[in-house]
């Protein structure tokens, strides 16, 4: 089935939930409200006409710097594909800026567990009903969510674990080895300072 036809069916089934359609290079995305996302995805997965049984990807998007005023601050994007019928669609769930949260779809696809954790970790979107919503790629005591647009590419300070590690290296350094000198190649063997 064409992606557009799937969007039509979705529109007919959930007229109040669908906000907009986005078409680009033959791919169709549908923006929806967050309230009934689990219901919509279940309908897409289980319906005989659609059978979209493969969750290709799940990711968060920060719309903070996008020019389109109709988009909410955050988005959770689901890519669905039907292995049997070979059609696909993109579902873009609009999530408000204040305390962003969406319902978890772990009950539909067990594999969504880690993908939702990743989205929470990097984008700071919470998933209601997720069995184990913790950071996954970053350390537990990390501050902030790196993929948000206001998060700098390079921060001002090291991660606390790194400072601890450096302190530990210093503490265990009984031979007075100065790695900075040797690494930069500044000291020639003959020119070492006499200590």
């Amino acid at each position: 089935m064409e992606s557009m036809a799937i969007a039509d069916r979705l529109q007919a089934q959930f007229p109040d939930e669908i906000l907009r359609r986005h078409v680009f290079q033959g791919q169709v995305g549908v923006s929806i409200r967050p309230a009934r996302v689990v219901e919509i995805l279940r309908w897409l997965r289980d319906g005989d006409a659609l059978q979209m049984n493969h969750l290709r990807s799940l990711c968060g998007v920060d719309n903070g710097r996008r020019k389109d005023p109709e988009l909410a601050r955050f988005e959770v994007v689901y890519h669905l594909y039907s292995i049997v019928l070979r059609h696909e669609i993109r579902i873009r769930v609009q999530v408000a800026e204040k305390e962003p949260a969406v319902d978890s779809i772990v009950a539909l696809w067990a594999g969504a567990n880690w993908l939702e954790r990743e989205t929470f970790d990097l984008m700071g979107i919470r998933f209601n009903g997720h069995p184990d919503l913790r950071r996954i790629l970053l350390p537990e005591d990390w501050k902030g969510h790196p993929l948000r647009k206001e998060y700098p590419l390079k921060g001002k300070e090291e991660w606390s674990g790194m400072t601890e590690l450096l302190a530990k290296i210093k503490e265990l350094d009984t031979f007075g080895f100065q790695p900075t000198d040797a690494a930069s190649g500044q000291t020639e063997p003959g020119q070492e300072k006499q200590s």
Partner: protein, 408 residues
């Protein structure tokens, strides 16, 4: 997944005395194939709970890509799955080409298909080597590395690098293949089927191999879909999903090949799938060599590095309205369109997808990488639960994960 008839050993494994204990496997463990940590809750040798922990290799590629131009972000993809870097490069380039609506010349498409399959062979050889080593077949390890070396030498001849290639370009490939390269590759193709037979003689019907793999780590097709498995892990469970057939890219619709399917969904089925895939890869490479059409290797409207691929192209670095960077406009048309696109390719590990959002600037607004390894490690908890700790190692090997891609 627990199966009641599962018996690696002929005598029953002691249940333990009901005293649970935890064991931390990794992150520095030779059988975890990278910096993967697995926290285990054990009862005797049976796994009660298995918690894989990733992130040790997280380098923030998705964030980095937002601060680089499309051409500059290409080199990040080498560092994803460094065992099959070429396939990642091609996946990235395809996604950007679709996003920017660029066309690729036919010759470049064939060359890309060829190098993709070469990297599939290289990846599968490394997988077989380490997987067999984990289970205890040392000889296979050495044999596989012997053949992988030939492939790496070929890659080196093609683009000068053995590991991080960055050979495909947005809109084509960097350099044309030489006759010497094709001759060398042809020699390899003539020699390699016999080598696969050699590996199979060693382990295919080996009693220890069968005991360790048949009926172990069983995943049904439905479970595999729910867990999001792709690639040989999904096809081993009997689900016919190969992006080279489902959504053909490059020259995959021009060549003839089959998609091997398993049915049992155990480690042995996944092993058989990958072995068959190697045969199919040889077929594809052979057809690419035979059909390789003449013509240009990079599209006319492709954004270019300063080093020009075409004689008539103008060098105008850093002088365009998009600010500094190596990209420049060649044609008058608007190169950077606004929109979003998801393009997936079949890399040796599974489905590698790139989701791009472009806001019309020369940098991606958002780049998400759908990493098969990340999802496969996520599935490990469900697959290993209730099995033996020795089989966990076999399961990790069988899922064929690479941590550089998982952690990004």
């Amino acid at each position: 997944m627990t199966s009641p008839i599962r018996q690696t050993l002929e005598y029953p494994v002691a249940d333990g005395e009901g005293e649970r204990y935890s064991l931390r496997l990794g992150p520095q463990h030779p059988a975890t194939h990278g910096v993967l940590r697995v926290d285990l809750e054990l009862d005797g040798e049976t796994i009660i709970e298995c918690k894989p922990q990733v992130g040790y290799l997280h380098r923030g590629f998705e964030k980095l890509a937002e601060n680089r131009t499309y051409t500059q972000a290409l080199i990040l993809t080498d560092r994803l799955d460094y065992i099959a870097a070429m396939a990642n490069n091609v996946g990235y380039c395809l996604a950007v080409e679709r996003l920017l609506a660029l066309s690729v010349p036919l010759r470049a498409q064939y060359i890309r298909t060829l190098v993709c399959e070469m990297s599939r062979l290289a990846s599968h050889l490394l997988w077989l080597a380490t997987h067999a080593l984990d289970i205890g077949a040392m000889t296979v390890f050495l044999y596989c590395f012997r053949e992988r070396e030939i492939l790496l030498d070929l890659f080196e001849e093609l683009c000068g690098a053995r590991l991080t290639f960055s050979y495909p370009r947005i809109g084509g490939v960097r350099q044309d293949v030489t006759t010497a390269f094709i001759d060398e590759l042809q020699r390899f193709l003539d020699l390699f089927p016999a080598k696969i037979a050699e590996y199979e003689t060693l382990i295919d019907t080996n009693r220890i191999w069968l005991k360790r793999t048949v009926g172990v780590g069983v995943v049904s097709g439905e479970e595999a879909l729910s867990l999001g498995l792709t690639g040989a892990c999904l096809r081993g469970s009997g689900v016919d999903y190969d992006l080279r057939k489902h959504q053909p890219y490059d020259a995959y619709d021009q060549v003839d090949f089959e998609v091997p399917l398993g049915s049992d969904g155990d480690i042995y089925a996944r092993y058989r799938c990958r072995m068959e895939e190697m045969h199919q890869s040889i077929r594809i490479i052979q057809q690419c060599i035979d059909q390789l059409p003449p013509g240009p290797i990079i599209g006319e409207d492709a954004p270019d590095l300063v080093m020009p691929n075409r004689a008539q192209s103008r060098i105008e670095a850093d002088s365009n309205s998009y600010g500094t960077g190596l990209i420049r406009l060649i044609k008058e048309r608007e190169l950077y369109l606004s929109g979003d696109i998801y393009v997936a390719t079949e890399v040796p590990k599974g489905e590698l997808g790139f989701y791009f959002i472009s806001d019309g600037s020369n940098k991606p607004y958002r780049m998400h990488i759908r990493s098969p390894s990340f999802i496969h490690i996520g599935a490990l908890a469900a697959i290993a639960k209730g099995e033996l700790i020795a089989d966990l190692i076999a399961n990790i090997g069988s899922l064929d994960v690479v941590l550089g891609e998982s952690d990004r």
